[in-house]
Every structure is written in C-alpha cells, then in structure tokens.
C-alpha cells in the first residue's frame, strides 16, 4: 500500500463511528486511506461498491467503465442520474463519488477491463473488486490479479440471487478454477432488481475493507450463495481446480 499522509482531524471526525469497530480503529482507517482499489464497471454492483468504499474512506479508487448512461441503467446503477442520460457513465460516477467524499483520489478510466489494460490497472491497486458483466473481462482481471498477487473480490447476480467469493492469488480458488470457460448459455442482459445488486455490492465492499484492514474472515475459498426470494444464504467450500493457471490446487 502507498503511504499517504496521516489522518487529519477532519477525517478522524468523519470516520469516527467506524473507528469504534473492534479490531479496526484509527490504524484500520489509515490502511483504508493508504489503499487503492480497482472497481471494474460501475453498474448495479460496481457503483454501490465504489460508493461504499468512498464513504468508508478508501484513499484512491481506480474506476473502469465505458459507455454512456442509458435509461435501463437507472433501476440499479446508483451513480448514474437522469440528467446524465446519453453522457459518459464514468463522469457521472466520478461526480457522485466526489459529492460524497471530496478527498477521494479517483482514477477514471473510460473503458472496460480487457487483456490490453488489465495488467497496468491491477498493478496499481491493493484489491480488485470485479463487478463486470462479461466473462472476458472477468478472466482478464483474474489473470492480472494472479500475475500481480492482488486479491480479487468476485460479485455476481441474477434475478434475486447473488454469488460472492474472494480470491487470494495462488492460495484459494480463482475465477478460472470455478469457471474454466465462458458459460455457453450466459446472456449479457438478465433480470435483476437494484436492491439485489446493491445487497451483494455492499457485501463485496465489506470484503474489500476486510482485506485492506486485515479484519475478520473473508470469503477466500468460500462461495456465498444467496436467494433473496426466499432469504436463503448458503456457503460452499470451494476446491481449487487441479491444473488451473493459479496453481492453488498444487500449493
């Protein structure tokens, strides 16, 4: 993590309530300030992840999202606003995040993650939160995270369900362990409520905070599966795939 200036008195006041969390304190808050997090896409998942991390006092966010705001974004993409329809999503997101936390250092990347840009962006951060819709993006981030040893939080949703897990590179199940190939039946557009994407996004943000501050137990090696239609939550113990590029099964 980059060493940033010590917490100011103003920052101590802003984050006072969370510094009361046992095991976190001012030391944890300084860790958040020193941290850089990459959030891939700022849709229903990534927008809320970024918002929560901005609120929590993460020092720098690298945000990657291409395209302009569309009407169909607005049921769940909380960083996008009606007045920004037709304009770049990344600008709407940056504007909203700085309203919440003007101290935030934002690296705004108006493109999606790909094999071309993943290495350069992942190398700059301490944690990656993957909220991307395309498996090509997810595979690119997974590979870059493995190469640079950066933990990766995987958020996914469908209908009223979500899945969440964390990858510790080379030690726990990675994206390619779980899904070696692009799922043949997966579709770019799918049913979902904003409240569902927001729910898993908040949990993904909690994972990122825990990774940065060394707090609690993360979902490394465990998959949280939830069905909010029935409010059933399950945890699955994951098995690294033998022969996977991550090498976790052989570690």
């Amino acid at each position: 993590m980059e060493q940033r200036p010590p917490l100011t008195e103003h920052e101590k006041a802003v984050y006072e309530w969370q510094t009361w969390v046992p095991g976190f304190g001012l030391e944890g808050q300084q860790c958040l300030k020193d941290a850089t997090v990459l959030v891939s896409r700022l849709g229903g998942l990534g927008g809320v992840v970024a918002y929560e991390l901005a609120a929590a006092g993460v020092g720098r966010l690298i945000l990657a999202h291409a395209g302009n705001v569309k009407p169909s974004d607005l049921n769940r993409q909380l960083l996008m606003t009606h007045d920004w329809l037709g304009k770049p999503r990344i600008e709407s997101a940056k504007r909203r995040l700085l309203e919440l936390n003007p101290r935030l250092d934002i690296v705004a990347v108006p493109e999606n993650i790909s094999d071309k840009n993943a290495d350069a962006l992942v190398a700059e951060c301490d944690v990656v939160v993957d909220c991307a819709p395309l498996f090509e993006e997810r595979f690119a981030m997974n590979a870059a995270s493995l190469r640079h040893g950066v933990p990766l939080v995987e958020c996914a949703m469908y209908d009223m369900e979500f899945q969440l897990f964390t990858v510790i590179p080379g030690r726990t199940t990675c994206v390619r362990c779980l899904f070696p190939e692009r799922p043949p039946h997966w579709r770019r557009q799918f049913p979902v409520f904003g409240a569902v994407s927001g729910a898993v996004a908040c949990l993904g943000a909690v994972e990122a905070i825990k990774l940065i501050a060394g707090l609690g137990d993360t979902l490394a090696g465990r998959l949280l599966v939830a069905d909010l239609r029935t409010m059933q939550f399950r945890q699955v113990q994951l098995q690294p795939r033998s022969g996977c590029e991550c090498g976790a099964a052989e570690a």
């Binding site: 498996f135 996914a156 899945q163 779980l178 799922p183 029935t230 699955v236 113990q237 994951l238």
Partner: protein
Amino acid sequence: MIINVHYTAQLKSSVGAAEEEIEMSQGKRLKDLVDDLTQRHGEAFSKYVLDEQGNLLPAVVICLNDEQVSLGDNAPLTEGASVMFLTAISGG
C-alpha cells in the same frame, strides 16, 4: 433415500423450481442423480449442465452438502444429502 436438489439462476428458471426432493435407492451416486434429473427434466436440465457428449459443462459447479465436488469423483449419496447445481452468473 431422499436427496434434496437445489438449482440456481438460469437453471432454476429453466427447470421451473428452486429445489425438489428426489427419491433414489440406496447406493446411488452423484452421476446417477444427474442421469435421473436429465430423464426427469430433459433439455430444461441438461442444456445448462451437460455438453453434447454428456460431460459436465465447465461452467457448472456441483456442491454436495455445501462442498464443491467433481462429477468425475462420483461421490456416493446418502439419505438427506443436499446437492446444488450452480450456474455461472456475473455483474451488470
């Protein structure tokens, strides 16, 4: 014995149920359950789980009693076992 089967995401929509109880005779194993579900639900199940050769699609995760298992290991099933079929989902 009764096996509790759980479906997620696109597979749940295709099969038309989030979960169901499947009665099987003692000694049956995971592959027997997959065969049973393929017969029971036809393409609604198989197209999300199996390839044209009948092998498990790489994007499907099977969990037995909340532990990820390989279909190739063909684990034995016991009374009350929980088997979950997870299909890949993503963000947006």
